[in-house]
Structures are given as structure tokens and as C-alpha cells.
């Protein structure tokens, strides 16, 4: 086992990224804040997947790479595997984590459960709580996109929290 730090360190950083970008620099521009937070996640995912795949043979297809994300990658980052993987076999994959670690300690307004997908930050502007959670999810979405991009798979990633505390990440691979 390599070096470890307390989980609070990582959680504190993520909280602080979101609050700096959403309340500080881009308080009136949630779209820009979202893009920056996603970019930070992208960088992290890109570097982590480089490190975690150093000693592996190249993945032969998309499904293999996605399985790597669900198992090895998720275990390294979140200490558990993705619980459920679905695909339409046309480039869309849905990864469900039944108890997503980074949301497990957030309080949630039940009314937002109807809100579902967080693809459009401006649509959430009405609901501050939904927006706060949505903003926190841009970071893991960026991590997944960065990890896959490093494996040569360009894609778009969004999150769905209509089933809290489960969280689904929807990956759409670009043809």
C-alpha cells in the first residue's frame, strides 16, 4: 500500500474547489464555474488513469476500458466498485454507484429528487441545493472524462441523481 492521507483532506479540497468557483470567481456564471470544476476533474482523471494503467496491456475495445473504470479505477478512488453497468451497445454507458461516497455526507432537499439529470447548470439556478450538489458532481464527471480521454476514448459525461444516495454517471462516447 502506498502513501495515504485522511479522506477529509480530499473532501475538503473538493468542497473548496466548488465553493471558490461558485461563490467567488464565477458567482453569477454557473456555466463557467461548472466548466472550470470539470476541467480540474479532467486533469485529475487523466493523470490517475495514466498511472493506474502503466503496467497493463492496451484495452482492445470500449467495453474493456469502461470495465476498467468500473472496477480498478473506481476502487482506487472510491474504495468500492461501480454497482451496476448498463449499455445500449451504441456508445452510451450508465455507471451506477449505489452509495456515491462524495454525496454520502451531503444533506439533500427531497424536492430536488424530481430534478434528475444535471446536464444543464443554468436550469438548476432556481434551486440552490440542487445546484450545489450538481456543482459537486462536475468534479467526478470530469475525472471520468479525463480518465477515458487518456485511454483514447473521447466522450461526454453527465450525472444523474434522481435516485439518491445512488448516483449514475452517463457516458456518451463520441463516434
Amino acid at each position: 500500500m502506498g502513501r495515504e492521507v485522511s479522506e477529509s483532506c480530499v473532501e475538503s479540497l473538493v468542497t473548496e474547489i466548488v465553493s471558490s468557483y461558485c461563490n467567488g470567481f464565477y458567482a453569477d456564471k454557473p456555466e463557467l464555474a461548472a466548466r472550470r470544476i470539470e476541467a480540474i476533474g479532467f486533469q485529475v482523471g487523466h493523470q490517475l488513469s495514466e498511472r493506474y494503467t502503466m503496467d497493463r496491456p492496451r484495452f482492445t475495445d470500449h467495453l474493456e476500458a469502461i470495465k476498467f473504470i468500473c472496477k480498478d479505477f473506481w476502487s482506487e478512488v472510491f474504495k468500492k466498485q461501480i454497482d451496476n453497468l448498463k449499455t445500449n451497445h451504441r456508445g452510451t454507458f450508465v455507471l451506477q454507484d449505489n452509495r456515491f461516497r462524495w454525496l454520502s455526507r451531503m444533506s439533500v432537499d427531497p424536492s430536488i429528487e424530481t430534478l434528475g439529470s444535471i446536464q444543464d447548470p443554468s436550469a438548476m439556478a432556481e434551486n440552490k441545493a440542487a445546484q450545489a450538489i450538481g456543482m459537486h458532481l462536475y468534479f467526478p464527471c470530469g475525472i471520468i472524462r479525463g480518465a477515458l480521454s487518456n485511454l483514447g476514448i473521447p466522450c461526454a459525461v453527465s450525472a444523474d441523481i434522481s435516485n439518491l444516495p445512488a448516483c449514475s454517471f452517463v457516458i456518451r462516447i463520441k463516434a
Binding site: G2, R3, V5, S6, S12, S20, R36, A39, I40, G41
Partner: protein, 186 residues
């Protein structure tokens, strides 16, 4: 002065939830990188990192007090020892040596034995004025402020800038007396 009780954060660190340090190190690196892009000025990035650290320290002190079971420190010397041996250990898994005390006992240095923030990090020439680890000084300042100590926390030596160690100076500016927001008889 009562002798400082030997304290160590080893047991606490062994019992907290931990994650691999790569995730932490790379996340921090990505933040610094994004801030450099967005704020452009190195000085602004230094300030922002310090502010983020301060905000984190203000929150982490609660977790520290709850989990460490440390009782009130008799003086600033003991406070510095507790940060070096318990606080840093409990969160970052490292310890520091406390040294360079001034005669008043209000200024000292923490020499970090190790620093997980800087694994894989090299500063390019364009970032020479960057205090890469400024988040940590902010955390210490924020945490101490919550226990009534106004401090100034600065990096004196930084291995990323070619020094031979990471040296963090703690200067106690003011001990704020505790005030209650209510009167006893209300």
C-alpha cells in the same frame, strides 16, 4: 511549566478513513494549475490558495478536536507540538519537528519531515514566485483562529524553490480572549 505530554497522531491516523495520497496530490495540483490559468498572476494564486486553506482550517479544527481528544494546550509551545505531532499526522500522515523558538515563545518553525502535497511536482520557470504549499499555511492559520489564536503563518523554506527543507513559520500575534455571545444570567 508542565512538561509537554508525549502525544502522537499515529493511532488516530490509523483509525480515520483514508484514501490513497495520489488522488489528493493530483487534485491539489490540478487546482493550482487551474488557478494559474484563471487568475494569471502568481501573487493572486498565492492569496487564493491561502484563503482556501483558511476556509478548510476553520472547518477541520472541529474534526481535529472531536477525534484527537487533545485537551487545552497550556501555551503556544504545546500548541505547536500538537500541530506537528498530532494535527499533521492525523490528516496528512506526516509529522514535523518544532524548532527555532524565539525568546518570547511566540514564534517557531515547523520543519516538515515529508510533504505529500508536492509529490510529482516541479515548478516551471514562469511560476517561481508561487508558494505552492500555501494552502497548508492557510489551514493552520484558520484552525488556530478558531481556537482563539491569531497567527501569521509563512513558508520560510520551500524545496520546490530549491531550499533544503519545508519550513513553516508560526508567529502568534494575539491570543483572543474567549467571548460568549450571551450573558450568564440570560
Amino acid at each position: 511549566m508542565a512538561p509537554v505530554a508525549p502525544r502522537s497522531g499515529d493511532v488516530i491516523f490509523a483509525n480515520v478513513e483514508r484514501v490513497n495520497a495520489e488522488l489528493f496530490t493530483l487534485t491539489y495540483g490540478a487546482i493550482v494549475r487551474q488557478l494559474l490559468t484563471d487568475l494569471e498572476e502568481v501573487d493572486e494564486v498565492n492569496k487564493q490558495l491561502d484563503q482556501m486553506g483558511y476556509n478548510i482550517g476553520v472547518r477541520l479544527i472541529d474534526e481535529f478536536l472531536a477525534k484527537s481528544n487533545v485537551s487545552r494546550c497550556v501555551d503556544f509551545k504545546e500548541t505547536a507540538e500538537v500541530i506537528a505531532k498530532v494535527g499533521l499526522k492525523m490528516f496528512l500522515g506526516i509529522t514535523a519537528t518544532v524548532t527555532n523558538w524565539d525568546v518570547e515563545g511566540t514564534t517557531c518553525s515547523l520543519i516538515l519531515e515529508d510533504n505529500p502535497l508536492v509529490d510529482f511536482v516541479e515548478l516551471p520557470d514562469t511560476c517561481q514566485g508561487l508558494n505552492y504549499c500555501n494552502i497548508l499555511s492557510g489551514v493552520v492559520r484558520g484552525a488556530l483562529e478558531m481556537v482563539s489564536m491569531k497567527t501569521e503563518v509563512t513558508w520560510l523554506r520551500d524545496m520546490l524553490r530549491g531550499d533544503d527543507a519545508f519550513e513553516l513559520q508560526l508567529k502568534l500575534l494575539k491570543q483572543v480572549p474567549e467571548e460568549y455571545p450571551y450573558k450568564d444570567d440570560e
